[in-house]
């Protein structure tokens, strides 16, 4: 279980996140939605401490991250993350991208790392792309390599930061298909997305953000049928 308590984040005096209190239960899927600049990505990045909150607590089960900075590596290892811009290691082939952390973090041998990496890349439909460099892959393929790279570490939590925002509609579908396959397989999944229909389809709960705050945390059905805040109503009205 992940819990954020009174999280606040400032960049050079500008508040980008405040009064954030939320709980992510194990095995559930959460979608964080809201307009651009609402603080969605920052919230997600606070979860694995890619951004260090200015104030507040981030709990992973019974470990509070601020007071356990020496255990950051361990916690991050259990949180897979997928980025908008893929962030593949440009000088490594797809296979090596996935093997890298297995060798450096999990300290696996070459053979074992290769076996796992090959399996994970096959799972996302890229068995034929093992030896390609990132620049030889399409956007959708790159993002699937990134997903395989995160999954290879066997995380308990997957964080998706606008995974399809840089992709065309066709590639978006191939990535969403892979993500759907992960839904309710035991992992906690937290997705920041602009794909409202996708959120509606996969998420158990919706976290609606506006102007650096969380306005609503409700189950998906309630959110789409009767949102509480006026701002969320407007947001949904603009979607259709």
């Amino acid at each position: 279980m992940i819990k954020l308590v009174n999280v606040k984040k400032e960049f050079k005096g500008v508040t980008v996140l405040q009064n954030v209190n939320c709980t992510f239960e194990n095995g559930k899927t959460y979608a964080i939605i809201g307009s651009s600049g609402a603080g969605k990505s920052t919230l997600l990045r606070c979860i694995n401490y890619l951004e260090k909150p200015t104030e507040g607590e981030v709990w992973h089960d019974d470990i509070e991250m601020m007071s356990h900075q020496n255990r950051l590596h361990e916690i991050r290892e259990k949180c897979g993350m997928v980025f908008q811009n893929f962030n593949l290691f440009a000088h490594m082939r797809a296979l090596d991208n996935v093997m890298f952390a297995l060798k450096k973090v999990k300290k696996l041998g070459d053979d074992e790392a290769k076996k796992i990496a090959t399996q994970r890349l096959s799972d996302v439909g890229l068995a034929h792309r093992l030896q390609n460099y990132p620049h030889q892959l399409s956007g959708g393929e790159k993002q699937r390599v990134a997903i395989a790279r995160a999954l290879a570490m066997e995380p308990k939590v997957m964080l998706f930061d606008e995974p399809t925002s840089a992709l065309d509609p066709e590639m978006t579908q191939e990535v969403l298909k892979v993500m759907k396959g992960l839904n309710h397989t035991g992992m906690t999944i937290i997705i920041v997305t602009h794909e409202i229909n996708f959120a509606k389809e996969v998420a158990d709960e919706i976290i609606y953000m506006d102007k650096s705050e969380i306005l609503e945390i409700t189950d998906t059905k309630t959110f789409f049928t009767s949102p509480k805040s006026t701002r969320a109503k407007e947001f949904l009205a603009n979607m259709i």
Partner: protein, 217 residues
């Protein structure tokens, strides 16, 4: 035309042996300079005493001429410290520090050219900082700035000629000794020029080979 290699032929072996001295200094500086340059490049952005010291050293070596640095270290400092280094020691230290300062700036440019998203992805996977630096950032940074690094090495080989100012018997020094003895300048200078040119030709070909090896497309 007044060209006659006769008078300088007996000195040819002596002249060409200067190549060895030139190469020795260049090699010391290349190895010392790369190692130190990597350290400087990685630590010049630090906001602690180490970062401050590195920035000060880089600033000094880029702000003064190489001839001055060499003479100051070899002739000036011994007056204060009492330690008189050999010519080769002075040359090795000054050239290493000098090229380290230029290489560090080149490497820093290379490091900054790598999108920080890759580091973030590695951090998110739980990879340690050391592994990120040496397995992800440095290999890509070096590849991006390899032409500039080779340029620095070529400059280095040519710049070693100023060691004649502190009395090292390198190519240039030997040429001037021979010219002083035989009163012939054109012929020995031509030989010296050819040697420098060939050395750098070899070096730049080597650079092209490495560049091709490091390509990943």
């Amino acid at each position: 035309m007044n060209i006659n290699y006769g008078p300088i032929l007996p000195f040819m072996e002596y002249l060409l042996k200067g190549t060895y001295v030139t190469l020795q200094i260049a090699a010391m500086a290349a190895i010392g300079g790369s190692t130190l340059g990597l350290f400087f490049g990685l630590s010049s952005r630090r906001r602690d005493p180490i970062g401050f010291l590195v920035r000060a050293v880089v600033d000094f070596f880029r702000g003064t001429p190489l001839v001055f640095q060499l003479m100051f270290f070899h002739l000036g400092l011994p007056q204060i410290t009492g330690w008189v280094p050999t010519i080769m020691t002075s040359a090795g230290i000054v050239f290493s520090l000098n090229s380290a300062c230029y290489l560090s700036e080149i490497l820093r440019a290379g490091i900054e050219s790598i999108d920080k998203g890759q580091s973030e992805a590695a951090i998110a996977l739980g990879v340690k900082k050391m592994d990120i630096t040496f397995s992800i950032i440095i290999p890509q940074a070096i590849r991006n700035v390899l032409p500039a690094i080779m340029n620095e090495f070529i400059t280095l080989v040519k710049e070693t000629s100023v060691v004649s100012m502190i009395g090292a018997a390198d190519l240039m020094r030997r040429q001037s000794i021979i010219s002083g003895t035989t009163f012939r300048y054109f012929e020995p200078l031509l030989v010296v020029g050819a040697v420098y040119y060939i050395l750098n030709k070899v070096l730049s070909s080597l650079g092209k080979v490495i560049e091709r090896k490091l390509r990943y497309d």
